[in-house]
């Protein structure tokens, strides 16, 4: 912890809105901080007093179990008090605007708002309307920064570095905030990123992220050190774009056979929840290359680091 204290000056932001807005150094600093907190999570007593007396509000406009639980646990392990507000319907339908809701929550004298919202940019709008820290837990198709951070943390843990690796992101790139945060994060840390999807799920201008786009899964797997396989949300937007689940699995589903053909031991990541038999076979999901459950574990350490850093930066601004 002393090293963190010494390096606190690297992090000065009260919010974490997306990896687009972070420098390489800031991203590395979060990962480094997360490393220290990971050690905490393996102790017998998994709690530190870093945020004692602080209150974290999970403001979720979209249903989420894993991300909310992970944030809640992260906050609790930092000794913060946690409140969960789940709003299934959008603010507009409820009659209170996002900004009003944010200001009302802030009036309860809380410190950090963790927000999940169906609209892209909701976290940005909230962050400039309140003086509390805002952590983006996923906004529309825009960003899901803590997911990408835990992906990077896990891969670094597994392979010792990010720089120079070939990382392929496979699945519905167009409608995925995880894809966007991954593209920003991995390219900033020097990975060579390829995105792979059927043409209708690759959005306009993608190459300007500094990534390579392909419709050919073999090309994405060829020479890859790691793949991040996205959930195909057939229940949502992707449904109209791609004819059938079976066809998707045939062309883009990750199977042991397809992985075996690559020669290399490819690390397999997935943000969850997995659609077994659609984007990935069970064999791969549970196989030796899969780090999917490590990602879940690391999510807590990464979110502890984020909550700790934004809170400390906000206190520093006072």
């Amino acid at each position: 912890m002393t090293k963190i204290a010494l390096n606190k000056s690297v992090w000065k932001k009260k919010d974490l809105l997306g990896l687009e807005y972070l420098s390489k150094e800031e991203i590395e600093f979060i990962l480094y901080t997360a490393g220290s907190f990971k050690e905490v999570t393996t102790r017998q007593i998994k709690k530190v007093p870093a945020l004692r007396g602080k209150t974290v509000v999970n403001l979720f406009y979209e249903p989420s179990t894993r991300t909310r639980t992970s944030f809640e646990l992260a906050a609790k392990r930092l000794s913060a008090d946690v409140i969960n507000i789940a709003t299934e319907s959008s603010s507009v339908k409820k009659g209170e605007t996002l900004i009003d809701t944010g200001k009302n929550i802030e009036a309860l004298k809380i410190d950090t708002i963790v927000v999940r919202h169906n609209c892209s940019g909701a976290a940005n709008i909230l962050a400039r309307s309140v003086s509390s820290s805002v952590v983006n837990a996923g906004d529309g198709w825009h960003e899901h920064p803590t997911q990408a951070l835990l992906d990077m943390f896990t891969l670094k843990e597994k392979l010792g570095k990010i720089e120079g690796l070939k990382v392929s992101i496979i699945g519905d790139i167009a409608h995925s905030r995880v894809a966007r945060s991954n593209m920003w994060g991995f390219t900033k840390l020097g990975a060579k990123v390829t995105v792979c999807a059927p043409a209708m799920l690759i959005p306009e201008g993608i190459e300007k992220f500094g990534v390579k786009a392909t419709n050919d899964l073999a090309e994405a797997l060829d020479g890859a050190d790691a793949i991040n396989v996205l959930r195909m949300q057939f229940e949502r937007d992707s449904a109209v774009a791609f004819p059938s689940k079976l066809e998707y699995f045939k062309r883009y589903g990750i199977t042991s056979e397809k992985l075996a053909g690559c020669g290399k031991n490819i690390v397999v990541m997935h943000p969850g929840p997995i659609n077994r038999g659609i984007e990935m076979s069970s064999e791969v999901a549970d196989g030796k290359n899969s780090v999917i459950l490590d990602q879940v574990t690391n999510g807590i350490a990464v979110r502890m680091a984020v909550l700790y850093l934004v809170s400390t930066a906000k206190d520093g601004q006072r």
Partner: protein, 432 residues
């Protein structure tokens, strides 16, 4: 009152005038524009160092009355217009109810007669309730005072119906103002489609959703002989289509709005909903193409697309905010800065785009300082700089993307029909 405006730089593109002249205003009309007038008058205005031009004419504004008086009224909207140097604004029919019948045209005319600070030209709807199903009665609306027809924010999707509408418009000699948008292509889109929409995680609106309908409407104009005016051109492909149509002799005119050449899609990245309009802010390439089109005459007019929305409507998530920005008070300054200062057009060219051409497109008695013309006059201090602040906005709504900008060129005096409605930047009880 007889006024003489002396020593100003008079710019009157209709008469190819750009030079120091005096203007005599009497009985609501321009009586003379000559050097060194010595006639008797009640008041001499020294316009030395300033520009004297025909009052500006806006082809495209939303005054929101009747129906959405919380956003704007004829009174507040025309007040904003005068602040920006406009002496005529064309109000679009997307009111509640829509201006789709002679009755509603007359109702708006009554409000205008009672409340307006400047002239208001009325655009009626192409289809009843702007629903794209049944054609409105152009002849009767024209008789009641409408000067053009438009379904405004709703493009007429049914091409067969649009063709019939253009035939009717040709018969009744009304200009058809086309908002060109394939709503199926642009559905749920909120920003220009491309890297910006992708990185923001927002649904994009492609240029194709605009120019495919521009192409259709040009084709229908050629076929029917109707006068077609393309509203708020935003992309380079539309520009090229209009350029070609004009050189082929099709009766087509076009406008763009200052935000399309002063801003680009990059301005959206902070999710500022005052950057959300339809069509959306496009790429730098598109903005450059628009400047070129303004220079070479492909774009005839600069219109504001003044679209007031309340703070509470705009202070929401980007997806939920309504499209549109106000523009009456900033159009002139932005055009001076972006077009005259950067030598895209001359001053005379600018006055053509903001006054003479728009008046001609709608066949209005405006846009000129010819003898006998209504004395609609604007006096501009071309070099005065100011910060455009929210509290300075006259419009009822404050949804401007230019708040905080340092602007150049200020309207000091405005005459509407010979009445001096603004004097030294202050509104004034009009007296003839």
């Amino acid at each position: 009152m007889r006024y003489i405006i002396k020593h100003g730089r008079v710019i009157d593109p209709a008469n190819k005038i750009d030079g120091e002249l005096d203007i005599l205003v009497a009985g609501g009309s321009i009586e003379k524009a000559e050097k060194s007038l010595t006639e008797k008058c009640d008041k001499v205005i020294d316009a030395k160092g300033r520009i004297v031009a025909p009052g500006l004419v806006d082809l495209h504004a939303h005054l929101r009355e009747p129906g959405r008086e919380d956003k704007e009224t004829v009174a507040s909207g025309t007040r904003a217009a005068v602040r920006g140097g406009f002496t005529t604004v064309t109000c679009m029919p997307n009111t509640e109810p829509a201006i789709d019948s002679p009755e509603v045209v007359r109702r708006v005319r009554d409000i205008v007669a009672k409340d307006a600070l400047c002239n208001v030209a009325i655009a009626g709807a192409i289809t009843l309730s702007r629903a794209g199903k049944r054609i409105a009665d152009f002849a009767k609306m024209k008789e009641a005072g409408a000067v053009a027809v438009s379904d405004d924010g709703s493009s007429v999707a049914d091409s067969a119906l649009m063709e019939d509408a253009l035939k009717a418009a040709a018969l009744d000699a009304v200009t058809v103002m086309c908002h060109c948008e394939d709503a199926k292509l642009s559905a749920q889109g909120v920003v220009n489609m491309g890297f910006i929409s992708t990185k923001m995680g927002l649904k994009g609106i492609s240029s194709a959703s605009e120019y495919e309908i521009v192409a259709r409407d040009i084709e229908l104009a050629a076929k029917t002989g109707a006068a077609v005016h393309i509203c708020h051109v935003s992309c380079k492909e539309s520009v090229e289509l209009i350029r070609r149509a004009k050189s082929a002799g099709v009766r087509v005119t076009a406008e763009t709005a200052p935000h399309y050449f002063a801003l680009t899609e990059d301005c959206c990245v902070t999710y500022d909903t005052n950057m959300k309009m339809n069509p959306p802010l496009r790429s730098k390439e598109d903005a450059d193409a628009l400047r070129k089109a303004i220079a070479d005459g492909t774009i005839d007019a600069i219109a504001t697309d003044h679209a007031p929305h309340t703070d509470s409507e705009k202070d929401v998530e980007f997806d939920y905010a309504p499209f549109g920005v106000i523009g009456l008070e900033t159009a002139l300054s932005l055009s001076i800065m972006e077009l005259v200062d950067s030598k895209i057009v001359s001053w005379s060219g600018l006055i053509s785009k903001l006054s003479y051409n728009p008046a001609k497109i709608l066949g209005l008695k405006a846009g000129t300082l010819s003898k006998g013309a209504p004395a609609d006059i604007v006096i501009i201090d071309p070099n005065k700089e100011y910060i455009y602040k929210k509290e300075l906005i006259e419009s009822k709504s404050k949804n401007s993307p230019f708040i905080g900008w340092s602007l150049k060129g200020k309207v000091t005096d405005v005459f509407v029909g010979g009445k001096r409605v603004m004097e030294d930047e202050e509104y004034r009880q009009p007296c003839l």
